[in-house]
Symmetry: D3
Subunit: 248 residues, 6 copies
């Protein structure tokens, strides 16, 4: 059930029995010579939609631009400052909590978002505590990074081994190929060399990773792989967060 | 050309010859008993994509949640505070300007966004002036509200007359039907009565407009109407903003 | 009745029967070779004071500096960032609402303020909703731009035709002459040429409008014209906003 | 020379030889049973205007609303939060510095403004240091509280002795009478008792000082006293800040 | 009783009978050729701890970095922007007030902190007023600058006369020597010359006071002096703020 | 080498050869019935000081209050909002970078700080990118959480096994005992039961963990254990971050 394809009376009916919503969060950033700039939003949105469908949970709008400073030396990358992303998440979850969506699961497609999303939860908790004290609504947040779940990691290892790498990975590229099979890109790729997945600012990132990949071989990706990753992720999310989404 | 379906080398190639980008901005808010909560984002995104295709202009990610305080008394509505939306737009356009996207056309689907988007342009201009003075990049912004363009208004009048109304209108609902023909909703609607399109806060809005419509009859909408509105809007945007998008 | 010339017991008495206040908002910015830097504040203040007198409404302090980024390439212009102006308006109206001034009419003398003032209303509404929910005070705001009211526009057309222009207009200059007849300035003016009232940042503004006027001939202004504009504006404001100011 | 009554070419001429500007800052707050709500703005503006006239210095717009939390339990009082006032002062002085007004003297009419204005100076200095480093403009700020200057204090003592008090004082009321002789108010006043000029929040203030005065007898004020205070203050400001205003 | 060396049940017991807490605030900034960068934090912490011990008052964590823009041209100096320091103080005192610490005495070691700390008190008062109105907790704040108390000033004069100066003074250096007798520094000092304790930004400060001292002779300091200053300060604070700390 | 016990010429000498600084960051929060409220600041400070001594690196002031919302239901706990902590860290590191401290290692004693500190690094990187572009100083940040380093975890396991738990752990309590052997607290402790180290807001935390511990048995701690943990942590930090601190 997608919020943007629902009417308000349909939302009202849903809230009569449920209090959960899934919010996909991605990023708009370079993903190497062949990965789509929208990769992280596309993957999060697809996995969130399928999770919503299987668990009967409402899915809200995707946050398409996240915290991607480290990719800003590549054309097309966009970023929010962490402080802006905190304000945005605060506004999203406070809007939703006011209607009764007190249980929020973020399904995240981008590692760079993790700290800021977690900080945002505490910004909201603390604001609510100060403003409302004991009367504050009992909101609950959880953050699921689909690409690091154990079952997904096992599949990454099985399919790609150490060619999975850390950014512009074949697993995420595969998911975008499953979603957009008409937008599969190819380009010559430099041979892989071992990488140190550590960096400082965006200049340092580009100096270390000149074509944007971090030790990955996205040429291994296929749409069929993508479908398997979606299925593995959704299965695992439903198992791990099912009780949470049911309000338990 | 959609940014999220491009690779960074493709963006780099585009920027070798062009400096324009289109940013769709919508809202996530009630649209009456039969309109989709995502209406304003869906319409802006569809019209932006088609405008990009016809004019060869890059189209960036849609801003799905805007300034919709006045709809917050209806379940499912979400809003950013104006100050958050200003920060978000600043981050978007500053990110893009750094790559050379110095000409930005916002295609907007929601009247409530207009003041804040305009305020955001001046926030950015003034920040750049203070930080960089004469060296500030020569960015240019424009805001196009597709639903009030003269040609669109003429078509609204031709097709729906005074049943177009002010919110949850048949024209915008028709566009969503063209985009999502499998998600056309129906529900009994109270008969239309004359309305005063004026209101204060969200409580006042709901008291005046109990089912969320403002003097509109969305039952008149059809997908075919929607296609005509998309065409009319895109034709007019291309004519009016063509030179702007070409950097002139 | 002017707030700054009242004592607090007088304000208390007023609030026993009324809940309305008028807030003039202007700007401090260039107005061409002969217009005063304070034009927009002077006109808003004069029209607000007269409106208050005729309708028995309290008039608060004038906001003298508004959003005038686009004039910053001319000496003497001052601007607030939109985010600062939003914070200021929030503080003004929240201060006043705490005393019972729940109905606020802004009388505005500067087009550049419009988006930010409107955004500020929603910032306040949304803050109140979040902090106080159903207990939030029922505040109501309205924005009146005196210079675009139909009766004023008719008089502009009657007196000046297409020599009214868009900035440093004879109508606003005339109002300042009526208020400050000892400070009427003259200077040689370049002949008028057709203008496109569109611009981007402050550098672009000065490049397009080198002496600060936008297609206007302020040499047509006289103090007598100014008195007629004040009267026309106040008459129209009293008619249009009378019920609002009475709390209806 | 008043900025709001000047044209931009006049400002340009002034800046060819001078870099100084005076900014009056007041408050909108209760001043006891007979004092005007606008007292602090009226006094600062009058003394600033006369100082400007005697020293040939440009005078900018008056800040009419300052930091007056402690008076908010009395109707008609308005306050900015300190953080808002800091942002406002930053915008004022950065706007002016961009034109060459690098020397700014604030003439202040309200004790409650003092800490925030001083904090604002350092906010600006530190922002400029971070943004521009060694290239930052060499701006200079000074704050003059007219009501505590030694010569003014001597006159307060001579005329009113210990009936001057701490708020709603006869000296400040006298200055408003000199400026607005048609708005002299009278009311029965409780007899004076010794006060402890110390308080916490606005509830505490009203509990300690029920009619708004702090140990003062404003019934002693006359317009003639007001003229003497204006003269004493301006004479002393010109002597103390003359070299500063000349850019030395 | 030091908060950081207490357990939460000990704090709970304390709060059963008391509502006071002392917060030391210092700075991290140059103190001349021989003064420690941490001087202001060291002195505030030592005097606060002893005050807490003598009066049985809880002492919270020291704020080690304050507002020290004017010292930033010397290596090792650190500063918060005033707006950051206001936010920090707000968070400290709101955290504490929530537990029942409604009476807060700041013991301050740095003149540059004074305006911002005072502004912060009003930021908190006004936030509480807006958010909670009549239900706001009755918090009370006081700021004590140990180095300007009359008894301390008398001792400064007795021991050092006009060699006390304004910054990197023998009195504050002596206190650090009493606390850290193993970290007494010496260096050749330029002979004293009369100084004007006035300055603008940090560049101006260093130009006027090239080695960081302001008319002081810290070579006069001894640990024994330091012990006398601590005793004088604590004695005076206990006398002046005793009733305040007892909740009277 | 401790910054607060250095003079500015000593800092200048250090910076002639080095660009590194260590910043300890802790928290002020409940640590169970026997743990000190200042535990996380005490441990971070002790380990940072010893790391500085062994590696010859300057150590700056400890941040004593961090992000501890989840402990706010226990008396004595203090918290910054994440947005405040971001601003504070920005001010710290920007202050230091201006002097040449471009390499900053945070040694952190509190898990709740991790997301916000990481978000702060990107806030600074992105601000510098926007303000200075290619001229931005090449700052580098690293965050070390001493309590989760592999060698420390091995020692936790060796000494305490599954009685280490997640909060108010014997390892951190032991470190405070080593630092403050005169402040070792004891109290009867409820028997340990298995815990789920997951929680939402501070009310939820206290409901799940009524005495503040999370599955830990701090009665196992001894000062000798504390010395071993300090040594293990410092050894490991020096090995892992040595090259980083040397500017490599």
């Amino acid at each position: 059930m997608l919020l943007h394809l629902s009417t308000w009376p349909e939302v009202e009916s849903y809230l009569a029995g449920r209090s959960s919503i899934i919010l996909p969060i991605g990023s708009t950033e370079q993903h190497g010579p062949t990965g789509l700039v929208g990769t992280d939003a596309i993957t999060a949105e697809a996995i969130a939609a399928e999770t919503g469908a299987r668990t009967g949970t409402m899915v809200g709008p995707t946050i398409p631009v996240g915290m991607a400073h480290h990719h800003m030396a590549f054309p097309g990358s966009m970023t929010l400052k962490p402080s802006t992303l905190i304000a945005l998440i605060r506004d999203y979850v406070v809007s939703l909590a006011g209607h009764g969506f007190t249980t929020v699961l973020f399904i995240n497609g981008h590692g760079g978002n993790i700290p800021t999303v977690q900080a945002a939860f505490y910004e909201v908790y603390e604001d609510l505590r100060r403003e409302k004290g004991a009367d504050a609504p009992k909101v609950r947040y959880a953050l699921c990074n689909w690409f690091t779940m154990p079952g997904v990691a096992a599949l990454q290892n099985e399919l790609f081994g150490d060619r999975e790498g850390y950014h512009a990975t074949p697993s995420e590229v595969a998911v975008t190929q499953a979603v957009y099979p008409d937008h599969i890109k190819s380009a010559p790729l430099e041979p892989l060399a071992p990488v140190d997945p550590d960096f400082h600012d965006c200049r340092d990132f580009r100096a270390r990773f000149p074509d944007g990949r971090m030790g990955s071989d996205p040429s291994l990706a296929t749409p069929e792989h993508g479908r398997r990753f979606i299925d593995a992720a959704v299965t695992e999310i439903a198992a791990r967060y099912g009780a949470f989404l049911d309000g338990a």
